[in-house]
Amino acid sequence: MTWAQQSAPLVDWDWVARNWGQIVDRTWEHLTLTAVSVGLGLVISLALSILALRWRWAYGPITWVTGLMYTIPSLALFAVLVPIVGLNATNAVIALTSYTLLIIIRNLVAGIDGVSESVLEAADGMGYTRRARFWRMEVPLALPVIIAGLRIATVTTVGLVTVTAVLGLGGYGYFILRGLNTFFWTQILVGVVLSVVLATLFDIGFVWLQRFLSPWARRAR
C-alpha cells in the first residue's frame, strides 16, 4: 500500500472497462443465486403454508423452525453446511433459501387469513369447490401481501448473496471481498453500488408486478 495508490481517483474507470466481462459474469451469478434461492423459497413456503392453513396446529412449529433458521448468522450457516454439501453453490442456495422461508410463509399465511369472511361465504354460496376457492379467490386476494413478502425476501437475499463470497461465489460480493483485501476502492465501490442497484431494481420490479397482477388493489382501502 502506498500513498500514491490511496490518492488515486476513487473510481478507476479503466479497471471497470478492462474487467467488464467479469462484472457481467458476477451480475449473472448474483442474479441467479438470488432468483433460485427466492424461487425455491417460494415453492417450499407455499407447500408449508398450505400445510399450516390446512392444519392450524402446524403453523406454530413451522414458524418456530423457520424463525430459528432466520436467526443463524449467515457466515455460520455456510460453515456448518460445508462438511455436508461442500463449498459450492448448493451450499449457498440452501442457506439463502432458508432465510427467505420465515418472511414468505408469514406473508402467505397472513395474506390468506386476511381475505374477508364475507368473500369466502359468497364464494361458497356461488358454488366454488374448496380447491377452486383457494386458487381463484384466496390466492389472488392475498397476492399484494404475498408479493410484499417476496419483496422483502428478495432484497434481503440480494444483500446476503454478497456474503457467499467467502464460498468463492458471491456475485458482487466477490468484488467487495477482493477490494477489501487489496484496499482497492474501485472494486469495493463497484460491488457495493451494483448490489444496491440490483436490490432496487428487484424492488421496483415487484412493485410493478404487484400492480400488474392486482390492478384492483391499486387504490388501497
Binding site: V119, D124, G125, M126, T129
Partner: protein
C-alpha cells in the same frame, strides 16, 4: 297459496357443538313455487341458520331438505349452490374482479360460452338498475347501495329458481334500503323467483313477504302465514309483541285502495248544467264540485263560482292529493287525514275512479 312446494324442510334440527340449546329445533316449513317467504324473529331465533341450511353453508344435524323435490343433502354442495342464488348482508363481492366478472361468477362456474355470459350480464345490468359504465370497475369504486345491486345481479345470473337472501339490505342506509326494498319487490313480481328472505326488521318482512315465518329463540316456528292474516290474528303473545304497535296501520299498508269500497262523490260531467251541479253539491252536502270530461278528471271548482252559464267556462283547480288504485290504504288514510276534503280522490292515469272516505277505510281495518 301455491300448491306445489319448491322448498320443503321436514323436521330439520341443528345443534352447534358446544352449545346446550339447539339453534333450530324440529322445524318444518314449506315454500311454494314463486313464493316470497320472509323468515323473521329476534336474534338467536335461528333464522339465518335455517336459511344457510337450505344451501348447506350450514349442514343440518337431522331432518330432510327437499328443493324442487330433490334431496338437497344428496347433491354435492357446490353443485346444489350453483342452482340457488345467494345474497348476504356483507354483500361479499369479489374485490379482485370487475363488476361484470362478479355478476358472471356462476355462469362462469357452469361453463357458459363467453358470448352468452356477456349477453346475460348486459341483461342483468338493466334488470337491477345499474349503469353500464360500472361493468369495468372494481367493487371498491361503488357505493353500498350499488354494491348490493351487483350482489343481487350476481345471485340472479344463472337464472336460479330459488333465491336465498340473508338480511341483504341491512348494511345500507335507511333511505337506500327503502328504495332497494321497493325495487326488489317489483323485481320479484316480474321474475317470479322462489325467495327465502331473512330479516330482523318486521316491517321489511311484512312489506316483502307473501308469507312470513315468525321464529322464536331455538328455531321454533310460532306462526307461518300471510302478513295480513298474521297482523289481523297473531297466533300468540310472542307474535303479537314481536309485531309491535300499530298492527292495524301496518295491515292497512298492505291492502290496496282497489280492495276498498269507493264512493262516487260530488262529481259531474263538465257538460252538465250549473243547476245540476248545485243539485249534486246539495245532495252531498258540500260546497265544491268535481268536474269530469267523460272519464277524465278535470279538477274541482268552488260552489260559489257556479253561475248561470255552462260549467265549461270555469277553470277547475287540481286536487292536491290523489291516489292510484294500487296505493295502500295506509297512504289513503294519510291523504284523508291531512286533506281538507276528508276524502281521497282515486285516479289512475287521469281516469277518475272514485273517492275514499274514512268510513270505508275503517271498515277495512275491522274486517
Amino acid at each position: 297459496m301455491p300448491s306445489e312446494s319448491m322448498i320443503r324442510l321436514a323436521d330439520v334440527s341443528k345443534s352447534f357443538p358446544g352449545s346446550v340449546r339447539p339453534a333450530v329445533t324440529n322445524l318444518s316449513l314449506e315454500v311454494g313455487r314463486g313464493e316470497f317467504v320472509t323468515l323473521v324473529g329476534p336474534s338467536g331465533c335461528g333464522k339465518t341458520t335455517t336459511l344457510k341450511m337450505i344451501n348447506r353453508i350450514i349442514e343440518p344435524t337431522s331432518g330432510q331438505i327437499l328443493i324442487d323435490g330433490q334431496d338437497a343433502l344428496a347433491t354435492p354442495a357446490h353443485e346444489l349452490r350453483r342452482s340457488i342464488g345467494y345474497v348476504i348482508q356483507q354483500i361479499g363481492l369479489f374485490p379482485h374482479r370487475t363488476i361484470a366478472q362478479n355478476i358472471a361468477t356462476v355462469p362462469m362456474l357452469l361453463g357458459w360460452e363467453q358470448a352468452r355470459i356477456d349477453e346475460r350480464v348486459e341483461e342483468l345490468v338493466e334488470i337491477v338498475g345499474l349503469e353500464r359504465e360500472m361493468l369495468t370497475r372494481y367493487p371498491a369504486a361503488l357505493s353500498g347501495g350499488q354494491q348490493q345491486r351487483v350482489g343481487v345481479a350476481r345471485a340472479l345470473a344463472a337464472d336460479p329458481p330459488v333465491l336465498l337472501m340473508d338480511e341483504p339490505f341491512g348494511a345500507v342506509d335507511p333511505i337506500v334500503r327503502k328504495r332497494l326494498q321497493h325495487e326488489f319487490h317489483d323485481l320479484q313480481e316480474r321474475l317470479g323467483k322462489t325467495v327465502v328472505f331473512v330479516t330482523h326488521d318486521v316491517d321489511e318482512a311484512i312489506f316483502l313477504g307473501n308469507r312470513m315465518a315468525i321464529l322464536n329463540v331455538g328455531g321454533i316456528l310460532e306462526q307461518y302465514d300471510t302478513p295480513t292474516t298474521i297482523l289481523a290474528n297473531p297466533a300468540n303473545d310472542f307474535v303479537e309483541s314481536f309485531l309491535g304497535g300499530e298492527r292495524g296501520l301496518k295491515r292497512l299498508g298492505l291492502l290496496p285502495v282497489s280492495g276498498a269500497e269507493l264512493s262516487w262523490g260530488p262529481f259531474v260531467d263538465v257538460s252538465s248544467s250549473p243547476d245540476e251541479g248545485r243539485r249534486v253539491m246539495e245532495e252531498h252536502g258540500v260546497e265544491w264540485l268535481g268536474l269530469l270530461d267523460g272519464e277524465r278528471l278535470l279538477g274541482w271548482v268552488d260552489g260559489g263560482a257556479l253561475g248561470t252559464s255552462g260549467l265549461e267556462v270555469l277553470e277547475p283547480r287540481p286536487f292536491l292529493v290523489t291516489l292510484s288504485s294500487d296505493s295502500s290504504l295506509r297512504a289513503a288514510l294519510d291523504a284523508v287525514v291531512t286533506g281538507h276534503a276528508r276524502v281521497a280522490v282515486v285516479v289512475d292515469d287521469g281516469i277518475y275512479r272514485g273517492m275514499l272516505d274514512l268510513e270505508a277505510i275503517s271498515e277495512e281495518i275491522t274486517e
